[in-house]
Subunit: 244 residues, 2 copies
């Protein structure tokens, strides 16, 4: 099991570390759900990589040489090629290593899975209202955005969306599910998923926590809340709060 670890986040004035031969490099941020998608895929497929964490509130100048918008996640290949966009990255990584394919080999099922990932963006949009305007966040909307995932799991009748092991859908939606209890802590109990309405999804969440790739990046919701609070009121954010 690869463990992501809690390295220091490089910031303004830093130097880009030299590439490690024979490894791809992931530019990441320890609390970023989009970056976590890529960690999960790298870990699930056991692709060796090194990680460079960056402070997104005070970005290293060199980050813009890697990504035109200075965003994470991005990966840099041995020859200096940089790719970005979490879904593009995850598909790319799945296609360069035959170890544990994460996408369904059937084109129709693969298209359906992509639509499901796309549909999850409804939940993501609502989730980010927590950062922007928590009063605009309606618990009914949140529950409705998850209903089809409950239905889909029941229909597929497998522990994971991808079958007996997590696959692309599972890993692509997981980072926000790992953080979902932030809503309950920050916005109240009405955001808690009920066993009655979401039995399959809550069971899925338990199964996911047992997955080795998930374990390798997992953080307790209290850490996410702590980081979230460290960024409120215009503060820069305590990016290195887990560094010991």
């Amino acid at each position: 099991m690869q463990v992501v670890g809690n390295g220091r986040h490089l910031t303004v004035g830093s130097t880009a570390p030299p590439l490690t031969k024979g490894k791809l490099r992931l530019y990441s941020m320890r609390f970023c759900p989009y970056a976590q998608r890529v960690h999960l895929v790298l870990d699930a497929k056991q692709i060796p990589y090194d990680v460079v964490f960056v402070n997104l509130s005070a970005k290293p100048e060199w980050l813009f040489d890697k990504h035109p918008l200075g965003k994470v996640p991005a990966i840099e290949l041995e020859d200096g090629t940089v790719l970005y966009e979490s879904l593009v990255l995850c598909e790319y990584l799945d296609s360069i290593s035959a170890n544990r394919p994460l996408s369904n080999p059937d084109p129709l099922q693969r298209a359906k899975d992509k639509l499901l990932i796309e549909r999850f963006s409804q939940f993501i949009v609502l989730f980010y209202k927590m950062y922007q305007d928590i009063n605009a966040l309606n618990s009914d909307d949140v529950m409705k955005s998850l209903d089809e995932f409950e239905t889909e799991l029941a229909k597929r009748d497998t522990p994971y969306f991808s079958g007996t092991r997590p696959g692309m859908v599972d890993y692509m939606i997981w980072p926000w599910c790992e953080r979902a209890d932030m809503l309950t802590i920050i916005a109240g109990d009405r955001f808690s998923l009920s066993e009655k309405r979401f039995p399959k999804l809550l069971q899925w969440k338990k199964f996911m926590k047992e997955d080795e790739a998930v374990k390798g990046t997992y953080l307790d919701v209290s850490d996410y809340v702590k980081f979230f609070k460290s960024r409120q009121g215009g503060s820069g954010g305590d990016y290195d709060m887990l560094v010991s």
Copy 2:
């Protein structure tokens, strides 16, 4: 060559036509650039299909049985399965037919192509400002959003982004390029691409107009402007303006 034709757009109160055996069905709108992406891929790969045009200002009730948000493009398969999202559809269509593969077989090049398509969304966002708030539209922003496409064509040194024939990048960005002169007509000459800044892109545009799939769906910019104007001021839009 398949020609998309100019069928009538079904509207409120209509009945969903029965599926044609052995053909997939595309739900489309004659002036929609996202739907055009799918027409282009179907035509380039010579996949037989029938098309049902829908009026997006007064949607048929049954459209919501096909697509949860009542959008186009969507395709319906023989067994009633419906897929949507233009990029998901185009990738799916490319993967079900070996005839003229449109995606690059190399995973790295494919990832780069996907990023390029993703980067084009900058232009799309600006383009839609024409509909929302034309005064907010800055010609410098528009030119800058296209610079990297000029650079990329020069770097690739091929007539099309995908080589000697149009491929996924070409077809995915084409619909907005076909419509780009709307900006000049509606917002003024400063939106016209100069030969000096965009020699490759303007040449590419000429080459694209010679492509059979492009010819099959092509409309003159005056038609797009006419349709655009028919929708202004809260009017429903003259969806059937080309029906003879």
